[in-house]
């Protein structure tokens, strides 16, 4: 984790202090751009930086043209880059290998020969933000004309690696205000408190839960009923604490600079239904998928069957975004199905109405069912499908 390195802490102290000491917005933004570039270079290396620079220039220039088809082409280029760096081996294995193992092997060799050892750092987040930007410009939004501001939108270091996924219409005014405004002890204190909360979630809770899971999960079958459910709870809280901790650190660091980043988590394990869960979990991703996948597919405008299908597709893509593996896709489909069911169960004759009334009368039942569904989903997320299925059966004594 990049935030838990000494280099990052030293870098952050230096970058934030100088930012606050410099006079005037031009110098401050210039300094922040240099600092972000240093951060990106340090952690991504030349192989990780080069493709992002190319995509960044392409997106910036495409936005300046304000022509729809140019923006679409640039979006396709971004998504193609993401597919190439992150999914080409997975796609070759899934789509080509079943028909021709030799062709798949040759393609895999070819892909490995031109790809860096690992996908460029944060490539998914870059592509999400570039697609959002181009989509909005194509829709009539103002493009960013200042290259330094665009650079800052693209590689703003607190959100570079794991979000939250920014919206430029929200980020740029905040950046401008931070660059103009004098030092604020409130921003410093609240930013430090938020980053401290994030670090506490990460190192005090998530890392200890990781050790617990690493130790006990391989012996899952040998644990008693309670032990198995505790492991499931540990898995569920580990990902929440780890990911929301990371978001807290990003939001806190930005806040120290005086910049507001969007919230990414809002007590997801308090959600009372699955739609509510996805409004509270990884919010910036959920909203991105809603705005740039679900709604363009037709959203909920063409009746409930189409709505369910759109949700299914959107969430399968969401699952795939988490990693190039079948179990991630299954996890997405699982949630897509869940959302479809959540949106339509009331239409099931008789039973649907009864269930709806029960949940309405006692919201705790809705909450319990939602959390059970989400928590069991983490088994699919973290483990190969067969193992996840086995663990789920064990939990219910099957």
């Amino acid at each position: 984790m990049i935030f838990t390195t000494y280099w990052f802490l030293l870098f952050a102290i230096a970058a934030m202090t100088v930012f606050r000491l410099l006079p005037g917005p031009v110098l401050r933004q210039g300094w922040l751009a240099v600092a972000c570039a240093v951060f990106h270079w340090h952690f991504a290396g030349p192989a990780g930086v080069k493709p992002i620079i190319v995509l960044m220039i392409l997106t910036f220039l495409a936005g300046l043209t304000r022509r729809g088809w140019v923006c679409v082409l640039a979006m396709i280029a971004s998504v193609a880059a993401l597919c190439f760096y992150k999914y080409s081996l997975f796609l070759i294995g899934s789509a080509v290998a079943p028909f021709s193992a030799a062709l798949a092997a040759a393609l895999a060799r070819l892909a490995k020969s031109v790809m860096p050892g690992a996908p460029p750092l944060g490539v998914s987040f870059f592509v999400f933000e570039f697609v959002h930007y181009l989509f909005e410009v194509r829709r009539g939004g103002e493009p960013i004309r200042n290259p330094v501001k665009f650079l800052l939108f693209a590689i703003f270091f607190p959100s570079l690696v794991a979000g939250p996924i920014k919206r430029y219409a929200q980020f740029l005014p905040s950046l401008g205000e931070a660059a103009r405004s004098p030092f604020s002890s409130a921003d410093l204190a609240e930013g430090l408190a938020r980053a401290g909360l994030g670090f506490a979630k990460k190192v005090l809770i998530a890392d200890q839960l990781t050790a617990y899971i690493d130790y006990f999960q391989p012996h899952f079958d040998e644990q008693g009923f309670l032990g198995q459910w505790i492991i499931l709870a540990a898995i569920a809280f580990r990902i929440l604490m780890d990911f929301s901790g990371y978001s807290d650190i990003a939001i806190g660091c930005a806040r120290i600079l005086g910049i507001r980043l969007p919230e990414n988590f809002n007590w997801p394990y308090a959600a009372r239904d699955l739609q509510d869960f996805w409004i509270r979990w990884h919010i910036s991703l959920s909203l991105w998928i809603r705005d740039y996948v679900y709604i363009p597919l037709g959203g909920g405008r063409q009746g409930w069957p189409r709505r369910s299908l759109n949700a299914l597709v959107a969430f399968a893509l969401c699952g795939l975004w988490h990693g190039p593996a079948r179990h991630f896709v299954l996890w997405g489909v699982y949630h897509g199905c869940g959302l479809g069911l959540c949106a339509t169960y009331a239409r099931i004759p008789q039973l649907g109405r009864v269930v709806e009334q029960v949940i309405r009368r006692d919201p705790v039942i809705g909450w319990a069912v939602t959390q059970l569904f989400a928590w069991l989903g983490w088994l699919l997320f973290f483990y190969p499908t067969a193992e996840a299925w086995h663990m789920a059966r064990q939990l219910f004594g099957l």
């Binding site: 390195t5 000494y6 280099w7 802490l9 030293l10 909005e136 829709r139 009539g140 939004g141 103002e142 919206r167 219409a169 929200q170 002890s185 409130a186 410093l188 204190a189 609240e190 430090l192 408190a193 938020r194 200890q208 050790a211 617990y212 130790y215 939001i251 507001r260 969007p262 919230e263 809002n266 919010i283 910036s284 909203l287 809603r290 705005d291």
Partner: protein, 406 residues
């Protein structure tokens, strides 16, 4: 026209926070912790220290600091005593020897009160790890010191520690506690040049030492972990479920290799091939003359001489007793006569080279019995005591030669 902003929840506010009081709390907190850490770094909290066994060493995710080790020395060794620090690997750590029977304790008994023996060996450690770094860092405070290290025959020793224990070297090196030694500087430079993947971890270590020199957090949290409650899981399987317990409550887990319960573990059949390969593998450094003599290759001779020569700064060589660790006769007897002669020659040559470049050196184990070993190299209590009996007169003689009795 700008796109509509999606409905993110409003940012979490800490409206109740009074920035001034929060920042005062932060500064006071960090200051108090730094002061506590600084005090602790000068305090010995290992009463009755015997060794860094697996629960209080990096094996158990506990990383003793250089200051922590120096504090142990200061607490144990009186100024009128000659400090004898044991470095090296698991053999000198005393694997297969219970804490109460450990060879270094026996060495202390044999040497008497004029000496103070402290065991800072680590499992898998190199001669320049742990104990060697502490001894060098304390060279001015304890000028009458002897360092005992061990190594296998025909092994090149890097001058700046090894693998998981190298952090102790870096603490001393970046903390400016070591002597200037041009060959060591050169080795460090070459290491970083030839291992680009290590540059970032070393940079991280350097920054961490820089932070630690101001905040002393490593000593503070080690102290909490040792005395009050576990702050970091130990990955030793048998202890993990109770990792919140302080490390001080865990007993030294080493067992007595002479106990019949463990005898069956001594020479497992599964390890036979691997152990024999290690011994026979030494022939790669040798060629055999027509008259049957085994001769160390020129390349190996020059490498070994160069590495041995540069392992320690020149002024520290004379006080460093090098032990070349022998193999159990259980395995030796399975060698052919020619192979046995070759293995014997490796010890003669290695000791000869270490001596030639200025170190007192000796080998041991050739005349030990199978019962003296817990496996191919580790000594049981019986072997440990034999080693102590062999080393004690060497240490006394060395102290005499160095003028420590004057």
């Amino acid at each position: 026209m700008n796109p509509p902003t999606p409905h993110f929840p409003p940012p979490a506010r800490y409206g109740w926070i009074r920035p001034r009081w929060f920042l005062i709390g932060l500064a006071v907190g960090l200051g108090s912790l730094a002061w506590s850490g600084w005090k602790i770094s000068r305090t010995d909290y290992h009463p009755g220290f015997t060794r860094f066994h697996s629960l209080i060493s990096p094996e158990g995710n506990y990383y003793p600091t250089l200051d922590e080790m120096c504090a142990i020395v200061r607490a144990k060794c009186r100024p009128d005593q000659i400090l004898v620090i044991v470095g090296g690997n698991s053999i000198l750590l005393g694997v297969w020897q219970r804490g109460e029977d450990i060879w270094s304790k026996r060495l202390q008994e044999l040497l008497g009160d004029r000496f103070c023996v402290i065991n800072f060996a680590f499992r898998g450690g190199s001669p320049t790890d742990g104990g060697a770094v502490v001894a060098e860092a304390l060279r001015r405070e304890f000028p009458r010191q002897i360092l005992i290290i061990n190594e296998a025959p025909v092994t090149n020793v890097e001058s700046f520690g090894h693998g998981p224990y190298r952090y102790i070297f870096w603490q001393a090196y970046f903390g400016g506690k070591l002597m200037d030694a041009a060959p060591r500087e050169k080795q460090v430079r070459e290491y970083l040049r030839d291992n680009p993947d290590q540059r970032l971890p070393v940079l991280e270590t350097r920054i961490s030492i820089w932070f630690d020199s101001a905040l002393h957090y490593h000593d503070f949290w080690n102290w909490i972990t040792f005395k009050y409650f576990g702050t970091v899981p130990s990955y030793r399987e048998e202890y993990f479920p109770h990792f919140l317990r302080p490390r001080r409550v865990y007993p030294d887990p080493e067992v007595d290799g002479t106990d019949p319960v463990y005898l069956e573990h001594h020479y497992p059949v599964s390890a036979l091939d691997a152990e024999m390969r290690i011994m026979r593998g030494l022939s790669a450094f040798y060629h055999r003359e027509a008259d049957g003599r085994w001769v160390l290759s020129e390349r190996s001779t020059s490498d070994l001489a160069m590495y041995s020569n540069e392992a320690f700064p020149a002024p520290l060589k004379r006080r460093t007793l090098v032990l070349i660790s022998g193999n159990s006769p259980y395995y030796r007897r399975l060698l052919t006569e020619g192979e046995r002669a070759m293995v014997r020659q490796t010890f003669v040559d290695t000791v000869g080279i270490w001596r030639r470049v200025g170190y007192p050196a000796m080998d041991y184990g050739w005349d030990y019995n199978a019962d003296d070993f817990g496996d191919r190299t580790h000594l049981t209590k019986l072997g440990g005591w034999k080693l102590a009996a062999q080393v004690a007169p060497e240490v006394s003689a060395l102290a005499e030669r160095l003028g420590y009795f004057r």
